[in-house]
């Protein structure tokens, strides 16, 4: 699609609040507390946060699945409630909630019908995306017989079927195999190449760190930190542990490396790379909020 109003942000979220009734007396429990966010067209935002922090609720509200209690969401300058805004959004929910009675092709065609695509276009795009995500061989198979990874691939195809400008992916890599990861990367690159804006929620920082422009950390229904991934992870400071894995290094080189590290006040302890510790990041952010 990619028909951007160059003046307007791709996404503008102001004071977003969401609450659900809980317990016998249906007392309201707030899940989102005045979330604010602005994304430029073509930007890629990584969304991380512990379980129950409100990531999925936030994405569902942005996708127009749930109505927020308060606040506003504008997509390329248009109110989320408008049909035009909704037609520009593609959403992959976190639990693959597609009709188990239908086959993959029929599901994509149904998604196309909900997106108001003409019948011929629905068929053509369903075929294209089945091929693209590697499910052409299972086009007729009932979704009840799909593995989790196959359902994620189908979800990806369903979210991108109508070429949306704003793509919201909730845990897209959960259950994907190596080939699925590759498909996911290619599809994301292609979407970015045509100027789409992306928000991807994940528990795996490696999914996001190298690709996203900014990283948002959600804690207790708020965006507790927002910034470039390296900046944010740099906040870990002295607590960060980096294991370097070097291939083909000679002893002399290693020795020189150790000496250099020591001169910098560092110690080289291992030979494997470990990903930055998200848990540590959450803990620090919580402590900062309390302070």
């Amino acid at each position: 699609m990619a028909r951007h109003d160059s003046q307007a942000p791709a996404l503008e979220v102001r004071g977003l609040m969401q609450a659900f009734p809980r317990g016998f007396w249906l007392r309201e429990e707030r899940v989102l507390h005045g979330v604010e966010l602005t994304l430029a067209p073509g930007e890629f935002l990584g969304l991380v946060g512990p379980n129950g922090s409100g990531k999925s609720t936030f994405l569902r509200v942005l996708a127009g699945v749930d109505r927020p209690r308060a606040g506003s969401v504008r997509v390329h300058g248009e109110e989320l409630a408008s049909r035009a805004a909704r037609a520009r959004i593609g959403f992959l929910p976190d639990d693959s909630p597609y009709p188990p009675e239908l086959g993959a092709r029929a599901t994509l065609e149904l998604c196309g019908a909900f997106q108001r695509l003409p019948r011929a276009q629905r068929r053509e795009r369903a075929e294209h995306w089945l091929e693209r995500v590697g499910l052409a061989h299972a086009a007729q198979l009932e979704l009840a017989k799909f593995s989790r990874g196959m359902l994620r691939r189908l979800g990806l195809a369903a979210a991108l079927l109508h070429e949306p400008d704003l793509i919201l992916l909730d845990e897209p890599t959960a259950g994907l195999d190596a080939q699925g990861f590759e498909v996911f990367r290619q599809v994301l690159d292609q979407a970015r190449a045509r100027g789409a804006t992306l928000i991807v929620s994940s528990h795996l920082l490696t999914d996001l760190q190298q690709r996203c422009d900014r990283l948002a950390v959600m804690l207790d229904g708020r965006i507790a930190a927002l910034g470039a991934p390296l900046e944010l992870l740099g906040e870990l400071g002295a607590q960060a542990r980096v294991d370097l894995v070097l291939e083909g290094a000679s002893e002399a080189q290693l020795s020189a490396l150790q000496t250099h590290a020591s001169s910098l006040g560092l110690t080289v302890r291992g030979v494997e790379f470990s990903q930055p510790n998200l848990l540590e990041l959450y803990r620090q952010l919580r402590a900062r909020e309390r302070a």
Partner: protein, 346 residues
């Protein structure tokens, strides 16, 4: 309207297990009505078999389909909303497609029931019921002339029928029922030994009809078992009877399924289906005349009763059509609102 979603709803409402239950029930009924231990004639046996099949099918399918329609809302809340809820489609379109799918499934099952019901050698033509008139309930034919009533016959009426009861002070009573219009009259005599109906043709022409009932022989007391005279029009082929019942069934199910679907947006499917049925069944089975005439599906069991008596039922009245459409529209509006707000404003 989302045609593909309506097809999915139809598929969810008539899954293989529902079809299997209904097919099993149809087979059992077809087997049980093969012979008549009471020695009824072919026409009466046909009429009873047809009524039994439709009554069983109606109650069984209404319960299964009401639950399936309520489950459509549940499926939306539990799963479909996340997959399709963000798309630029109004919830009203989702509600309409879901209901339409459920109703089409009901109509298709009704067609199957009609085919099963008529899959036997064609019986005689059956007169079609065109109306009813109230009679004094206390009339009794004891010796000579005991009942005389002057009634206004519907324009399409060709014959009139009374249902008579018998107090067995003797083994039988021979009665004569006459219909007079102006100078012309038609009479029919019947020997009664149990409760039964007597039908007499109307003289040609227009104007009021004078009915007289007299006992000619036998000692048993005869009384009016139903305080209504039933008017019949021209005969139609027996096979069309199921088509008329199907019209009543489709109308009744339209409102019931919309109600179950609407309640399903707020309640668990079993409770929603039970609530919808508890509202519908009194209207279907109740004897109150006004309620039966106006309530959605109110004419369904009256039609089945006519079928059991060996007559073709009257088609649904305009009032019943209007009330069914109104209730369906109201329920769909509530359903659309329920689908819109189920996760945020309870």
């Amino acid at each position: 309207m989302i045609a593909a979603f309506a097809r999915l709803a139809a598929r969810r409402c008539a899954p293989p297990r529902t079809l299997a239950i209904l097919a099993l029930s149809a087979l059992a009924l077809a087997w049980s009505t093969r012979s008549s231990p009471l020695g009824l004639d072919l026409g009466a046996r046909d009429a009873l078999a047809r009524r039994e099949l439709w009554s069983t099918f109606t109650l069984l399918s209404a319960a299964l389909l009401a639950h399936a329609a309520a489950s459509l809302s549940y499926d939306w809340r539990r799963r479909d909303a996340d997959a399709f809820g963000g798309a630029p489609r109004a919830r009203a379109a989702v509600a309409l497609a879901s209901w339409l799918g459920a109703w089409c499934a009901a109509c298709a099952l009704g067609v199957a029931a009609a085919l099963v019901s008529e899959a036997r050698p064609a019986g005689p033509s059956l007169a079609r019921e065109v109306g009813r008139s109230a009679l004094a309930a206390s009339a009794l034919a004891q010796d000579e002339l005991r009942l005389r009533a002057e009634l206004s016959a519907p324009r399409a009426a060709r014959s009139v029928e009374l249902e008579l009861g018998l107090v067995p002070t003797d083994v039988f009573a021979e009665v004569e029922l006459c219909a007079r219009r102006g100078a012309e009259s038609r009479c029919v005599g019947r020997r009664l030994s149990a409760r039964s109906t007597v039908r007499v043709e109307l003289p040609p022409g227009e104007g009021r009809i004078e009915l007289t009932l007299r006992r000619r022989a036998g000692g048993a007391l005869v009384f009016l078992a139903r305080d209504q005279a039933v008017w019949f029009g021209s005969a139609i082929p027996a096979r069309w009877v199921s088509a008329l019942v199907w019209l009543h069934y489709a109308l009744a199910l339209a409102a019931l399924l919309a109600l179950a679907f609407a309640l399903g947006t707020r309640l668990p499917p079993v409770l929603a289906a039970a609530s919808a049925l508890s509202l519908a069944l009194p209207a279907w089975l109740g004897e109150h005349e006004l309620w039966s005439a106006l309530a959605p599906g109110g004419g369904l069991f009256a039609a089945l009763e006519a079928v059991g008596r060996g007559a073709a039922p009257a088609p649904p009245s305009a009032e019943q059509c209007v009330s069914s459409l109104a209730l369906t529209a109201l329920a769909l509006a509530l359903a659309a609102r329920g689908l819109e707000s189920w996760r945020t404003t309870r």
